[in-house]
Symmetry: C2
Subunit: 268 residues, 2 copies
Amino acid sequence: MGGTKTIRSLERGLTVLRALQEQPISSLREINRLTGIPKPTLLRILHTLQGAGAVSRRLADGHYRISATVSARKPDRYDRVAEAAAPVLDRLCQKISWPSDLMVPAGDHMEIRETSRVRTPFYTVFLHDRVGTPVNWMLSAVGRAYLAYCPEKERERILALLRKSDLAENRLARDEKRTRQILIETRDKGYGTRDPTFGGGAYGRQSPDGLAGIAMPLLDNRRVHGVINIIWSKAAKTVEDMVQDHLIDLQNAAAEIVASFRHQSQTR
Amino acid sequence: MGGTKTIRSLERGLTVLRALQEQPISSLREINRLTGIPKPTLLRILHTLQGAGAVSRRLADGHYRISATVSARKPDRYDRVAEAAAPVLDRLCQKISWPSDLMVPAGDHMEIRETSRVRTPFYTVFLHDRVGTPVNWMLSAVGRAYLAYCPEKERERILALLRKSDLAENRLARDEKRTRQILIETRDKGYGTRDPTFGGGAYGRQSPDGLAGIAMPLLDNRRVHGVINIIWSKAAKTVEDMVQDHLIDLQNAAAEIVASFRHQSQTR
DNA sequence: GGGTGCGTTCCACAGTGCGAAACGCTACGT
DNA sequence: ACGTAGCGTTTCGCACTGTGGAACGCACCC
């Protein structure tokens, strides 16, 4: 056992992996606390693990995330989507300068799981929302895109949940006719847009965020793994112009995410 | 990405892990071929991985085996048992000088999945059989122990299979009454023993191996994960003496294997 | 008994990993 | 607006760790 020499740097690398298995998303500081390894060394280790595809970084806050192909416990389904989405959203943001989010269902709201908001030059505009921020189903571009494309059974379950809600922003769910029409329109266009009255977030936000967005489902064989969007200052550009210029990019991004997600699933 | 330095030794360690994920049981030579890393370096890496619990060695031939807690694809159920059994069988062999096997079901026969045969001083006596060697169900100590303790449904399935067989050594399965009696006796004793006519192996072996054995199921909550035995030269010791001296050790070993196997399963 | 294929050990050298300290950036508080 | 605290990142010189060719030991096979 301890007879021949062991390689310290490798031991420490594995220590980091084990720490990340217990806490799958961690900041540098947390990994440092967990492992006791000095931060400069950790940085080198994490760089190496990243190069080997064993960890990736969350765009939103730079936290380190263990890759699904390494993690021992089976990861949350949406974590795997987030991992696949991160590099694609990053590239998209480099290209079009406006940021994107990945949103996933979370009960009576959607929530942000990944975002390239910090990667845009104008990022101060987008600071309100972080990973985990709840977003309304019925009024948001992302919610509408999801509902329009998800399987009927799932849609019914979500709508039933919303109908029970007393919140003003969920009231629309009770108007079955208008709901249906909105979803049909969404499918016709091929992307989701905000309700004109919607100012971002969920559970009634104080002040509107002044943003606009278009949203596209991550459609994979009739299942929807989440939604990605493009968001921008309402003042800077009309929805029509954005669609004209970049809908195709959003579509490509969605396709790419789904493809790499499916590839990753195969290996497992 | 490549901006900051990466740690070569860690990269290579991960390379080895990936190689082992593709080929979960490999000799040093094979890993060398797969990775291109020189053998002395590999030895150090594998030592380190072993110390971290990421790989273990097969007793039988020293091959390296990726640990179930690291392997990306879900491992064969019995591979996990073998991994848990290896160190226990090793210790047992150190203690009592006679070797053991771990046997698992494999259709119309059982098969050796792990063994401490090479670890005993007298190991030339036991060289006939290796990992993968088939062993008869009805006549062997291990087969009888398994059948005596496995769930009834499974037992019926196996016996039905054997009744269809035309081989001489499976004929006993058609004698329902005697079969039942043998299993009852086995349960009464608490361990399996060979049929007096049995000379080892399966599918009719040329010459009897001159060994005797006692066998104990790896019983876990009504499921049987396999069987372990102790084998020795028939000439050296009677079954009674062996039971007297070491049945308790065999029982302890079985319990220990099941415990560590369950622990390992929890983590996953 | 010589040959072959592997695993393992040795050892001298060079490059690699190391971490304290300094730096930069953002968020907060006042 | 300014100061402070908390993190992530970069620097840099030193020590030591990882490296791999060569030699060894051991089974196994002609």
